[in-house]
């Protein structure tokens, strides 16, 4: 297995990696699956489903973070909803960092009924040129849509002509929504385009470390903590892709290493840079919690050749933070939690909660990658299977709210920890305190871990909001459903294609 940048269209995670969106069982089933080579845990379809998400929003949302890129969406107006979704947010980030974002644009061909019959590739060309003339971005991404995909618009066919006219890379993104049920496919599509159309071969080595993530560590001043750690080993971070520039992306091949805060998110780029340009991809646990951070820090230091310096840093941090953390852990011990997150963050946070002494009742992943593009299994999942003190329920569920409400209502945990917009409120509706790990650096390093432990304790201690809310709202589910087993509406295996 390897990443092939010559591929015109990147296949979905389902077909490349065998990733799945439906499964019910326990952590030990995954252990057996790993033992049998990844074929035992099979995908289950559903007779009932709720609105999930598609690769388009992820791919184009990520690429929209690049300060001097432009997106041209070839589809009806609703597909360009991403432009509304991201509006102002990346501006606020760029402003906070003092970076220029005046060349960014997100335009749309606003396809109509006639366009679905006759196509509108000529209009697309004009919109690309007009977008260039207005904003002078350094790259233009063409966002495909379900409509452009089904009617067979030839995006590749116009690239050469366009590049001749405007003199910058034009990169098609085949993020048609129907092509993958796993929105994380969109992350790969974005990174495939960055690798294929922007990154240049290295001219010289730098002391930069590529950090692929969602933000720039801006919340609660985490950025200074990251800098402190990187300073200790003499490297500089290049944050990707939010608020990055095309020039920064061109030089990714010169970096000393690539790391990511979320392996579900950043593996494709890390593996691609490693296999194409030899930039080491640090396949450590993500830097969350004490175990995760130390593994990440040590493996990064090893690549850079500064292990002694990192050990000194770790020692110093441990001495200051661990005694404080122990005190909070005493009060968290024995509390029960349900977790719902993407597969990377979820396994990661299960480990952290176990570090704190909480009992995991159920871990629910928005999808499951049994491997990445290099054939390796996710490090955090391997670690969790090996170290978990108990076997607990594990299910895969692409934002199927009716399933996780069924689970929560029966488990009645002390706390629900999630990571997706619009998930936390549902636990609170039935009186369960909930925390959304919105910030990827939430439990980064020792300071972040202490902060997260303290936040959890605060949430468990003062349950007022969730309890008050639960007395005044009702769930949109029938009594019948809440009494079923949560996987009662899975299709029987024979029907699954």
């Amino acid at each position: 297995m390897a990443i092939n940048l010559n591929n015109k269209v990147l296949e979905s995670r389902e077909s490349r990696l065998g990733s799945i969106t439906g499964f019910s069982g326990s952590l030990s089933d995954l252990k057996e699956d790993f033992a049998c080579g990844g074929g035992c845990v099979e995908n289950k379809g559903r007779c009932f489903s709720q609105a999930s998400s598609c690769p388009s929003n992820c791919a184009l949302g990520q690429l929209s973070g690049i300060n001097d890129a432009a997106i041209v969406q070839h589809g009806p107006s609703g597909c360009a909803a991403t432009a509304i979704g991201i509006s102002s947010n990346y501006d606020l980030l760029a402003n906070a960092l003092g970076r220029d974002r005046s060349h960014f644009a997100y335009t749309c061909t606003d396809m109509t009924e006639a366009d679905t019959v006759f196509g509108s590739i000529d209009n697309l060309k004009e919109v690309v040129i007009e977008t260039y003339n207005r904003y002078h971005p350094k790259v233009i991404f063409l966002g495909a849509s379900c409509v452009s995909g089904i009617i067979g618009e030839d995006l590749e066919g116009i690239l050469e002509d366009l590049e001749k006219k405007i003199g910058i890379p034009v990169a098609p993104i085949h993020c048609e929504g129907f092509k993958s049920q796993i929105w994380a496919t969109g992350f790969d599509l974005a990174q495939h385009a960055i690798l294929k159309y922007i990154v240049k071969p290295p001219k010289k080595k730098s002391n930069k470390v590529n950090i692929y993530g969602f933000t720039q560590g801006l919340s609660w001043n985490t950025r200074s903590d990251i800098k402190r750690m990187f300073d200790a080993i003499g490297v500089e971070p290049t944050y990707l892709p939010a608020s990055a520039t095309v020039e920064e992306l061109e030089h990714l091949s010169e970096a000393v290493a690539t790391v990511t805060t979320c392996s579900t998110l950043g593996s494709y780029l890390g593996i691609g840079l490693e296999s194409t340009y030899g930039v080491p991809f640090v396949r450590a646990l993500p830097p969350h919690g004490i175990i995760g951070f130390e593994d990440y820090a040590r493996q990064l230091a090893k690549v850079v050749g500064k292990e002694a310096e990192m050990e000194a840093y770790i020692k110093q941090e441990r001495e200051y933070y661990l005694p404080k953390l122990e005190k909070v852990k005493e009060q968290l011990r024995g509390k029960r939690a349900v977790i719902a997150m993407g597969p990377g963050f979820g396994t990661n946070y299960a480990r952290i909660l176990q570090e704190f002494g909480l009992e995991i009742q159920h871990l629910l992943a928005w999808h499951l990658d049994k491997q990445y593009d290099d054939g390796n299994k996710p490090a955090a999942l391997k670690h969790l299977i090996k170290t978990s003190p108990n076997n607990f329920n594990y299910s895969v569920n692409d934002l199927q709210n009716y399933e996780f409400m069924n689970i929560l209502n029966k488990a009645k945990p002390d706390v629900f920890v999630s990571r997706h917009p619009g998930s936390t409120v549902w636990a609170m509706k039935i009186g369960i305190p909930a925390y959304c790990v919105y910030d990827e650096y939430n439990s980064f390093g020792y300071k972040g871990t202490l902060r997260f432990a303290q936040t959890l304790l605060d949430i468990i201690t003062n349950r007022s909001f969730a309890e008050n809310l639960s007395k005044h709202v009702s769930l949109p589910y029938s009594k019948w459903w809440m009494q079923q087993k949560y996987d009662a509406l899975y299709e029987i295996a024979e029907q699954v294609v």
């Binding site: 709720q50 598609c54 929003n57 597909c79 509006s87 207005r134 934002l399 619009g422």
Partner: protein, 438 residues
């Protein structure tokens, strides 16, 4: 001439899912790709979509994939409707179709007709994204509720004084809840009984009463005209089309008089109500005249970059109530061509014969370029969406964000409608006076 949407300010017809969700205990069933609902919700209603009894992650959805694109999605739709009726606790189920299934050619009406005899009503609306905007989708949803649900029920007698209120579009008008409630309050003050179908605790009970109204009150320049005409055709209910969402004393008093006249109410009674409110309103204004007129930064001329409804409401208030002068008004929600003349006509009816130039455009770049060229005789006041914030800063102007994408303030139940709404808008406009050197 290329067709370009630059800085999109509306979404596609499937965005009408917000209209369904706004009817308490109505459940949208999305027959479309897996990402449509979350994308649309993230844009119109904020980052999470509107949470409430439902949020978009709870909408039943067929999550169309490769298989359905090749073999059609009818079986999948049948399955999802059947199980929606078992799993979801709702009163009305509305199937909304997206681009993919309409191009593939699913016979959605056929599948939906199989559920005609279910205990709960199931209807469908064709809302493919390429067919229109979320505003048109909003009208189509209401039309199909009339055609497929209300028209099939036995007709009941008209209830004296019952007035259906239409106009503000759920979620797309960020102030929709407060605006509808304030319109209800005004109608109630006249001694009439308001009936609106959107928002908390209204639901199917109010939908069912729609055919029994004495008249329909549409407060909107164009959205909803199709609906009140259809209600006239089906139930012979007369309608009052009042184009201006009333803000402040001048417009709200005019609104009360117009509705009162249409309902045949006693003029003296109406004047008593108007008088009471105007007294209170001008009490507050009198106290604050120095803030409005004694500073170095407030604007004398304004522009709006927003929906026809907001542009008309705000400009009537700023001209007829506050005495400002209008520069060009940019209308951005993709008004269908057949309504353009009607809508621009409303901007020719200000006090003293003042008129405003109206431009219909979906191209933010050109709109901003024109605003930069226009003369505001000082700091411009720009009322628009978050896309105008940077422009306002660049032009050293004043800015109030009132339409999608809003991303500027949290709106729980506030409103700019009515006498109190006018005071609230003044607070928001003149807050900037205190935020700059004076």
């Amino acid at each position: 001439m290329s067709k370009i949407l630059d800085e999109p300010r509306y979404v596609c017809a499937l965005g009408a899912m917000q209209t369904v969700q706004a009817i308490n205990r109505a459940i949208p069933i999305i027959h479309a790709g897996p990402g449509c609902a979350s994308k649309l919700a993230g844009s119109i209603a904020g980052t999470t979509g509107d949470s409430g009894y439902l949020n978009p992650q709870t909408y039943p959805c067929t999550n169309i994939g490769q298989n359905e694109v090749v073999f059609g999605g009818e079986d999948k739709l049948r399955n999802i409707i059947e199980n929606s009726l078992k799993v979801m606790d709702g009163d009305l189920f509305v199937v909304l179709s997206g681009c993919t299934v309409e191009i593939v050619g699913d016979d959605i009406d056929q599948v939906v007709s199989e559920f005609q005899n279910e205990e709960k009503p199931v209807i469908s609306v064709a809302t493919a994204g390429f067919k229109g905007t979320n505003l048109q989708g909003h009208e189509w949803v209401i039309n199909e509720i009339i055609n497929q649900y209300l028209s099939r029920k036995p007709q009941k007698e008209v209830i004296k004084g019952l007035v259906n209120i239409w106009g503000p579009v759920p979620s797309y008008d960020p102030f929709w809840l407060g605006n509808i409630r304030e319109l209800e309050n005004l109608v109630r003050e006249l001694g009439l009984t308001p009936n609106s179908i959107f928002g908390e605790f209204r639901g199917l009970e109010n939908v069912d009463k729609v055919p029994q109204a004495e008249f329909n009150l549409l407060v909107s320049p164009w959205i909803g005209l199709e609906n009140v005409k259809l209600l006239k055709e089906k139930f012979d209910t007369p309608y009052l089309h009042y184009p201006t969402l009333p803000i402040g004393a001048h417009e709200t008093s005019a609104f009360l008089r117009a509705v009162g006249d249409f309902a045949g109410l006693d003029k003296k009674q109406i004047e008593l109500i108007v008088d009471k409110h105007e007294k209170e309103y001008y009490y507050y204004l009198e106290r604050s005249v120095d803030i409005f007129f004694e500073n170095r930064t407030a604007s004398k001329k304004f522009t709006t970059v927003t929906t026809a409804a907001n542009a008309l409401a705000v400009s009537k208030f700023l001209v007829n109530d506050l005495g400002l002068m209008p520069n060009t008004q940019f209308i951005t929600e993709g008004v269908p061509e057949e309504y353009e003349e009607l809508v621009s006509g409303y901007f020719k009816e200000f006090n003293y014969g003042i008129q405003a130039n109206v431009v219909f455009s979906t191209d933010g770049y050109k709109i901003h370029a024109q605003i930069e060229k226009e003369d505001f005789a000082g700091a411009p006041l720009i009322i628009g969406s978050i896309f105008e914030k940077k422009l306002a800063r660049k032009l050293d102007g004043n800015f109030v964000c009132i339409s999608v994408p809003i991303k500027e303030k949290v709106i729980l139940h506030s409103s700019y409608v009515g006498y109190h709404g006018g005071l609230k808008l003044l607070e928001d406009i003149f807050t900037s006076v205190y935020q700059s050197f004076n």
